[in-house]
Symmetry: C2
Subunit: 285 residues, 2 copies
């Protein structure tokens, strides 16, 4: 199943993709839908009982940030062997983790309005969405608890990221991490077998990796995280980015004002976000 949060005149609504468009569901977003433990049965019941007239035609649907209200957004750095090598590091024993906030996220076609940085870099990533509560879970339990997968770009302000030892301040700029366009359930996609993760700038491909080369799989990441913090339905874990980021280039390359940033995982979809940079006078106070 492909699930989405769609934009309607009166607000957002959860929806499931059907052949001709999207069927609205009884929740304001996928964050709300997933918080109900019976979400799978609800979606299946809606699909079984729907009328053709309820379907919103695909060409008229505006897809919003699918998960506007996660309590936890946790990101893994340095998880693709080629990106680790590019950054000059060794394969890790433990996942490197940091956090974002719910409002760090933004929609699949939203403009990225970045202030105070001239070193804005891209990081195309597979994001895993939690479907059931996890605490001290095994990898098998974690695998069973995955609601599905979506696409994210962990857009990073490298100048801020490198100001101190902790990356957080370069990773948590408001509305800087596009996510979506849909959540694809685990019956349709298998990142362990491998899916491509692609980033393009103005049509030029800059990143292409495959999730089969992840050091820590989605299930392993959820199990590891669940040892120190409980994961709940709707929480999101970004699994890291493959090689090809701008700071790894010689000379480094960063996003420019007006660039069109595309992030694609075939089988899920493509994020397409225009970049707007605005460096204010107080950028370093």
């Amino acid at each position: 199943m492909k699930l989405a949060t769609i934009q309607l005149a009166e607000g957002t609504q959860a929806a499931v993709e059907v052949a001709t468009g999207y069927l609205p569901l009884a929740a304001s977003s996928l964050s709300e839908l997933l918080s109900d433990g019976t979400w799978k049965q609800q979606v299946e019941a809606a699909l079984a009982a729907h009328q053709e007239s309820e379907i919103i035609p695909g060409e008229t649907v505006a897809l919003s940030n699918p998960l506007p209200a996660p309590a936890k957004v946790i990101c893994c750095g340095l998880n693709y062997s080629d990106h680790i090598t590019e950054m000059g590091r060794e394969l890790p024993e433990y996942p490197t983790l940091f956090a974002k906030f719910a409002d760090t996220l933004t929609g699949p076609t939203d403009q990225l309005n970045i202030r105070h940085s001239t070193n804005v870099d891209w990081e195309a990533e597979l994001a895993v969405v939690v479907g059931q509560r996890l605490s001290d879970a095994t990898a098998d339990e974690a695998s069973e608890a995955i609601a599905g997968y979506t696409v994210a770009n962990d857009v990073s302000l490298r100048d801020w990221q490198r100001r101190t030892l902790q990356w957080f301040q370069g990773k948590a700029f408001d509305a800087s991490t596009p996510i979506g366009p849909v959540l694809v359930t685990t019956d349709e996609i298998d990142p362990v077998a491998g899916v491509e993760v692609i980033c393009r700038i103005n049509g030029e491909e800059v990143q292409r990796g495959n999730t089969k080369t992840l050091v820590f799989s989605a299930a392993n990441l959820l199990a590891y995280i669940s040892q120190f913090t409980t994961l709940n339905p709707g929480d999101i874990v970004l699994t890291g980015t493959p090689g090809g980021v701008g700071m790894g280039m010689t000379p480094p390359r960063y996003l420019q004002d007006g660039d069109q940033l595309e992030t694609e995982i075939p089988g899920i979809g493509t994020l397409s976000n225009k970049v707007s940079l605005r460096v204010a006078a107080n950028a370093t106070h």
Copy 2:
């Protein structure tokens, strides 16, 4: 004013301290109270209009986590010159920041139940609570927007913290950061002029610092953070810990099962939390 979230039979309630106890307010917690822009006027009106019979006597009040639902908890590391020296580092140009989750926090007398770690360390801290929305604020604007101050202990799992370059996984263990016991408004306390921050284990003092030696003041931290992420009422910023943490000792000292951890800021109050350590077999999988 001293504000609190008190535990009643039917749930929690925001309250303000009066001479003989606590006067309940029309909100379930300080998180909810602060989310209303008129919270100061509400408290003043309640104080002006209350009946003696409404007051819950001080000796019967159980104080809960004052802020159970912050959208953002941001921590500053390495902010006291003596602690920076102790950790072998130089005075910083920018604050070192990382994040916790709302459910990393726990109440002022709650037991700390830590699993999977044998390197549990203490970090007594002044926490600043946001009272008004802040985005790209100046230090003066940030200073005006402070709701007040409370006490926190950024209890840190050093083994987890040192597994990777990012401290987050050692700082975000569920219910490991006690906070409270009350929120003291800015008319009663001035951390720039200086308040003592004290930590004791089983009555033995292990930390004593003074906020007048903070490299980045509360207002400067809020202004800096507001450049990359909007701060909203009820959000919390932990301002860092003074010298005297266990990992800085020779040999390092860590909290033991059964230890009583006390964290005090005179003028605000004292957190008193019993430590329960339970190392499970899967601590390192």
